[in-house]
Symmetry: C2
Subunit: 357 residues, 2 copies
């Protein structure tokens, strides 16, 4: 049976980096007989230009039909002044929500070859390998009511709602425990249970789920402390599970500990491990079209796709291995370049990974 993959190159550097990732995917397809078939569409600013909305109904339908989605990145200054409801990121939020992609996996992995790029001292980050499991379709991102209104006293007021139900918490907690089980068997759940009602339920339900994972050691941490501990001693963490907003903040913080966000992939999975895969970095409009963007995060997103949606561990490993080989060869795009390495463009980097495969 063929595997349908929808490619959404997106905006900014998206098309360039996705083109390289597709080359790698096609190479892996041949080598491992994966049987993938690709189709293309638009998401974000490009979709707004083409369809008038950041996610067209027909695109959403195509995404529903697909087995997996590869996304570049969305957004750019061109769309900064349009109606907020039509901005590129609304398309991203809508596709996450409509496809039920609640399980967001964001690894923060320090490649030994790039250890010098971190702003942290080498001994603090050497060997860093954290996985942040972020709830992606609930909480304050999608809670209603939310409103901008004028109060009786004439003042403007706006509010958002942060809701979590036990089923939403349970399913993401399970993802966290499952991941911890195949890693170091340590899970840290991050919340703000000393202040938030939603966090109190979060903590209660995570404790309940923990009963099914006696082999995993569970700890809880307040989000402010977690933000601190990630800077102080990040290697104390292995798998972190947290809500949508805290996950947004902490995963970006954690990714920056590695110093090379251009290397970090992500997966957003539904209940049956269908997923959307995208680099952690943004659309970098300032360098778009120059052929200098780093395609490795997108290439590694392909590896995550093969691992999590298609259960092709060997192919996934091979791609990760190929990336490691090109780093060993000293090839670097500008964002990860350092003295003594060879600076290459987006395409050369993609070609090198294909060659190393």
């Amino acid at each position: 049976m063929s595997k349908q993959i929808l490619i959404l190159p997106g905006d900014g550097i998206g098309p360039e980096i996705v083109a390289e990732a597709v080359k790698v995917l096609e190479q892996a397809n041949q080598q491992f007989g994966l049987g993938v078939e690709l189709s293309y569409d638009e998401l974000g600013g490009g979709a707004y230009d083409k369809y008038g909305v950041p996610l067209a109904d027909e695109t959403l339908e195509r995404a529903r039909q697909a087995d997996a989605i590869l996304l570049g990145a969305v957004g750019g200054p061109k769309w900064d002044t349009i109606d907020p409801a039509l901005r590129p990121e609304r398309g991203l939020l809508k596709i996450r929500s409509q496809l039920g992609l609640f399980g967001n996996l964001r690894p923060a992995l320090l490649y030994p070859q790039l250890a010098a790029a971190s702003s942290l001292k080498p001994e603090i980050v050497a060997g860093l390998d954290i996985l942040i499991v972020r709830e992606l379709t609930g909480g304050i991102y999608f809670g209603s009511p939310r409103e901008n209104r004028v109060l009786e006293n004439g003042e403007r007021q706006a509010y958002d709602t942060l809701p979590y139900s036990e089923s939403e918490i349970r399913r993401i907690a399970k993802v966290g425990f499952d991941m911890a089980r195949v890693r170091s068997k340590k899970l840290c759940s991050v919340d703000k249970a000393n202040v938030l009602a939603s966090s109190q339920l979060w903590r209660t339900v995570v404790e309940e789920v923990a009963k099914d994972y006696p082999d995993v050691e569970l700890s809880h941490m307040y989000v402010d402390n977690a933000a601190m501990q990630l800077v102080r001693a990040p290697k104390q963490f292995d798998v972190i599970v947290t809500d949508n907003m805290f996950g947004d903040i902490l995963s970006d913080e954690a990714s920056m500990l590695t110093g090379s966000i251009g290397m970090l992939p992500s997966a957003s999975l539904d209940a049956r491990n269908k997923g959307m895969y995208e680099p952690c970095h943004g659309s970098a409009p300032d360098i778009a079209g120059k052929g200098i963007a780093n395609p490795l995060a997108t290439i590694l997103s392909v590896s995550m796709m093969l691992r999590y949606t298609f259960n092709q561990g060997a192919a996934a490993d091979a791609i990760e291995q190929a990336v490691s080989v090109v780093l060993d060869q000293g090839l670097r795009t500008g964002d990860i370049w350092s003295e003594g390495c060879q600076k290459v463009g987006t395409r050369e980097m993609g070609d090198a990974v294909v060659a190393a495969l």
Copy 2:
């Protein structure tokens, strides 16, 4: 006219560190003829033990009467299992809210003498001097409705509300701009306006306030990016203004960049600069009663009190200067100790600051 200061030593190491700060305050009182008068009460776990609640009405009334409040820290494992509504931190939240202490100033300052303590590379943090202005009495910390309930389908659900009115945003924005004006004239407002309605109003109102501060350069940043940039290149920031929850997370992250959270004071001010002053660190129950806690953050909180509530810049400067002198002398409590320095206890450190004054 005498200045009434209410001292709330709190829990854990609170009483020890506050005792040293009081010595310094009394010394400054004599030297600068400040005319301060001290009274004492309980907040947090100690208040729960004494009054059955973490903030008694009579304590709140005393706090209202006082010109300023010096707080140690609250909380500890002893009270971890009591009714959540009576836990120590509820007392802290209540006093902030009841006294209208909406303006929370949290400096993240790297002392050159302690540069090595940071987990970041020296060149990234040398000279770091950031001020985080956190909104402290609004947003999701105090928003209603908030509820734990059972939905019709039998599922438990909990939710919180994140509201901001324009007057709440305006007054904290003004604090941010005022602080920026006397520092480097750069203000970064942090929000999540691409997702939250409250953040959209936040950004709008901050822009409006900016019109009264043409000499201050305003920028906006999303909270996830701010969490990243603080790790990548923290010196790009000078004053950051943000909401209650984001401020909680980012100020802890920023403080940890210095590597010595035992050095960082904070102020929580109302509309007339009456304030509560406390160290950024917690009650550290593990080292309570051992006489080894670092009193410098609390001592520097006294300096902030003299500066912001009592307009005694010279006395405030003198205390900061005295702290710098003891650091130059090589005196260090355990938390900031490094090879070649002299390890001292809480009391010796306090005495040394008094002597240096």
